[in-house]
């Protein structure tokens, strides 16, 4: 699974959580909260969708790793690789 695949999976989740948001120009290094008007409940939704769709757990102390799309890819990359390998 390459970074672009992970990026797309994260954007799929954000499209569900924030269906009104325009995701066509999300900048990788800018905080998602600022670009897409996301709040703490939205991030809990993202955590829940990662759990439901991909069986990935994000502990509370790591929530800050989901701040930007780039940091999501960096943080979740190994987790996606791990769940893919376990299948």
């Amino acid at each position: 699974m390459v970074d672009q695949d992970i990026r797309n999976l994260i954007l799929d989740i954000i499209a569900t959580v924030a269906p009104d948001a325009d995701l066509s120009n999300v900048v990788g290094h800018v905080r998602l909260r600022d670009q897409l008007d996301l709040d703490s409940m939205d991030f809990l939704d993202i955590v829940m969708e990662l759990r439901k769709r991909h069986k990935i757990e994000v502990p509370k102390e790591d929530y800050q790793q989901l701040a930007t799309l780039d940091s999501c890819v960096a943080y979740l990359g190994p987790k996606f690789q791990a769940v893919t390998a376990a299948r």
Binding site: P19, D20, M41, D45, M48, R51, K52
Partner: protein, 412 residues
């Protein structure tokens, strides 16, 4: 009563199974158009229900809707429509002086059933239970969603009043205006009941869930062949103002709320008590300062259960036995039982009679139950009358809660 104490209706927003505006709703009541259809529900399969088809996105973003509830969405739609019709410009109003009072029969069962269904797919692991569950299921949810959406900062809460809730929400609005707590009140009721299988299952367990091959004929109050309730969703909110405020801004005045009453049977959880129902209607008339013969239309609560229909007619005979000009009708026969919304919708559906001079009928009566026979019960077709000036709207609920609201044509 002074103009500062008199309260009038200056706007109506509604969604019912047969109409999403007051005009569409009224037209369909006069044309005999039912809004009952068949739906699939969890565990039970096909059931009959009243389903609303308003545009959820008209006043709400998709994310807001996703986080909230159907009852909240119905409330937001009705609030926007009602305020729009009233001509109130919220930007010129102190939003801290606007109150939101919404009657509900129940709230939270839909959301709880949904979450249980989610965790069932994950072997009942509660880590999959949504963090949205609490804000969705707090009892004030429908009213609170309205205030968040519209930025209304006055008091808001729901009123749990079983199926008398639509009247109760309106009454609370009137009272808060008279207390001087608010300058504008949104009052009425809503229901999302059809999204809960439990409500259908419970009525079925009581042998009180309507069945019919043709859904549009399923809800038949007073008919010999009636076999129970059609559960519906819907909502109706009234904009209420003190008469002097409405006059000052040249508001459209649809009716004046001249009387109301609520009381309790204090006898049985489900069986109504005609004596207390009669007392409730009489108290509402007394407060309105009118006699039974001054009432042109009684909008009945009757739900198409055998005993409930008969008990209400018994109460009506007690109060209106000498009232030859009072006509009696029923709106549930068109839309089913919209639970928390029922009282408000049924009042709204009759308001048009002030202008069109017709009393809409009670459809689906093929053979009148003789125990429900009463003078001037309007069956199947609208009844043209000389003029409608006064309407009494009944709404009752489980645990013996009764309500009656009296409205009059506004005369300058």
């Amino acid at each position: 009563m002074t103009a500062a104490e008199r309260v009038v209706i200056t706007g109506v927003g509604l969604t019912s199974p047969n109409g999403n505006t007051l005009e569409e709703f009224r037209r369909n009541l006069l044309d005999g158009v039912s809004g009952v259809t068949a739906i699939e529900t969890r565990f039970m399969g096909r059931v009959l229900a009243g389903v609303c088809n308003f545009d959820e996105q008209k006043y709400q973003g998709k994310k807001e809707r996703r986080r909230g509830t159907r009852a909240g969405s119905i409330s937001i739609y009705c609030a926007h429509e009602a305020l729009g019709r009233s001509g109130i410009d919220l930007d010129r109003l102190n939003r801290a002086r606007v109150g939101t009072f919404i009657g509900i029969t129940e709230h939270g069962t839909v959301e709880t059933e949904n979450e249980i269904d989610v965790i069932r797919q994950y072997d009942y692991d509660t880590r999959y239970w949504s963090h949205h569950h609490n804000p969705r299921t707090v009892a004030n949810n429908p009213a609170g969603e309205v205030t968040v959406n519209l930025g209304l900062r006055g008091p808001h809460y729901t009123i749990g009043a079983a199926c008398a809730a639509g009247n109760a929400g309106l009454i609370q609005g009137v009272q808060m205006l008279r207390l001087g707590e608010v300058d504008v009140a949104l009052g009425g009721g809503v229901s999302e009941a059809i999204h809960s299988f439990g409500i259908f299952a419970s009525f079925a367990a009581e042998n009180a869930l309507a069945r019919h091959d043709d859904p549009t004929q399923a809800c038949r109050p007073f008919d010999q062949a009636r076999n129970g309730i059609v559960v519906s969703e819907g909502g109706c909110l009234f904009v209420l103002e003190r008469l002097k405020d409405a006059q000052r801004r040249g508001a459209p005045i649809l009716a004046e709320v001249v009387g109301y009453a609520m009381n309790s049977d204090a006898t049985d959880p489900v069986l109504p008590d005609p004596g207390r129902v009669a007392e409730c209607m009489s108290l509402a008339l007394e407060r309105a300062g009118i006699e039974p013969q001054d009432v042109d239309v009684v909008s009945t609560h009757a739900t198409a259960t055998e005993l409930g229909d008969q008990q209400e007619i018994t109460a009506l005979r007690q109060v209106f036995s000498d009232s030859r000009r009072t006509y009696i009708n029923n709106t549930k026969s068109f839309i089913g039982h919209a639970m928390g919304a029922a009282g408000a919708l049924e009042l709204a559906g009759n308001l048009g009679s002030f202008d069109d001079g017709q009393v809409h009928g009670t459809i689906n009566v093929t053979e009148l139950d003789p125990r429900c026979a009463i003078r001037n019960l309007v069956l199947n077709e609208p009844k043209p009358v000389e003029q409608v000036n006064t309407i009494l709207n009944n709404s009752f609920g489980m645990l013996g809660i009764n309500s009656a609201v009296v409205v009059k044509r506004y005369a300058k």
